[in-house]
Symmetry: C3
Subunit: 163 residues, 3 copies
């Protein structure tokens, strides 16, 4: 359907996963689409919100959510592989393979996304659920949004992906 | 493209995962879309069929499929987290975090989906494969359907997601 | 939007996963869509590239990528379940359940996809990253492609899925 005002094609990604290996397709697809003139939104929800938390922030509003954050440390650089993580060895190896082959790490690709105008909407419900405040998240994100807002955008987007 | 008769926008979700954490986006997106006037179908297939089996039903048509069901117990309340399940502790904790923060459990969100007119189609092929009879599944589901039927609906839907 | 030349509806699948259980939806949806006259492309990337490597090929261009391939052996028949793999028992059992219930294994469904005109594009970036040469991959694939090419096709497709 495209954006009525600009005529640009639209892509919306629901970034549900916070796994290192899935941060690559999200950031590569988003930045590539933006570079090719598409209007791109990433709706970050559930585990996908963890990478967007600033390094070192303590999240969680009670014992349980703090424990959850302890087991699943926030921040791009803490993201684990969805499999073969092997106490961090898989993650570390995958990052080295990427660096050696000129594939940018997801945190740099993410910066590039923001620079290129990709909108990143943190999921308000997940923030409430996990005890993440807006000021604990990376700069440059859009306002927290709910599922209804994301769905309205997806209904207008040529490409919708759940990653 | 929308529904030709009603003009409503359409969303189709392929619910492939039966993991607890993925049951939330499926039921939240489906119920929110329905609440906003969209015509929503969930095509439940593979692991995504397990939550739709009634509590306590014994599924499986031979030793192997029975063993498979034993390792992956059917029913919404048995669904495990995709990671950090830790012998059920992660699941239990996540359910407590949800309850404490007024996020309905997936089984209640699912009831809400049905109440709001979301169509849920169990995958016929998966039922045959795993030995799940129609009478063993939750009430309110649509007729079992195949991939061709799901694809025909997806070709008309504004939003298609594989979860 | 459909193909401007043929008027056929289009589907594009990003095959990110190489897990056995996810190879089934990819190949079933792709072959069923093609059988129903759709123009189908599968963009195979990241773990999704491993099944497309010929049996017995040694991939990897250095020690790290060779180790990665060692832990994640390429080829359709080596694909593991995303969960319950249990040192191969889950995989073996799932393959037996499939065979007993007349569900073709993914490698045969994949052949059928190619026979029916499904286009399979290996991701050039992943090939470079993991050290996979074009001659090490199954016959019948399309030319390696990048994210921009995949996105351009997705912007025209009625159905886009990330699996």
């Amino acid at each position: 359907m495209s954006d009525a005002t600009t005529g640009e094609e639209m892509m919306t990604i629901i970034a549900f996963s916070g796994d290192l290996d899935k941060l690559w397709p999200t950031t590569i697809l988003a930045s590539t689409a933006a570079a090719n003139g598409m209007d791109v939104t990433v709706f970050a929800t559930f585990w996908g919100l963890f990478p967007l938390v600033k390094d070192g922030e303590k999240i969680g509003h009670d014992a349980m959510t703090k424990m959850l954050a302890g087991m699943n440390p926030p921040g791009f650089t803490k993201a684990k592989l969805s499999k073969m993580n092997m106490a961090g060895m898989g993650r570390s190896m995958m990052r080295k393979v990427a660096a050696k082959n000129n594939l940018m790490p997801p945190e740099e690709l993410f910066e590039m996304c923001l620079d290129m105008g990709v909108k990143v909407w943190p999921c308000q419900m997940t923030m409430d659920l996990l005890g993440i405040r807006a000021d604990q998240m990376l700069p440059g994100l859009g306002d927290p949004a709910g599922a209804a807002t994301a769905l309205a955008r997806m209904a207008k987007s040529e490409i919708n992906l759940f990653i």
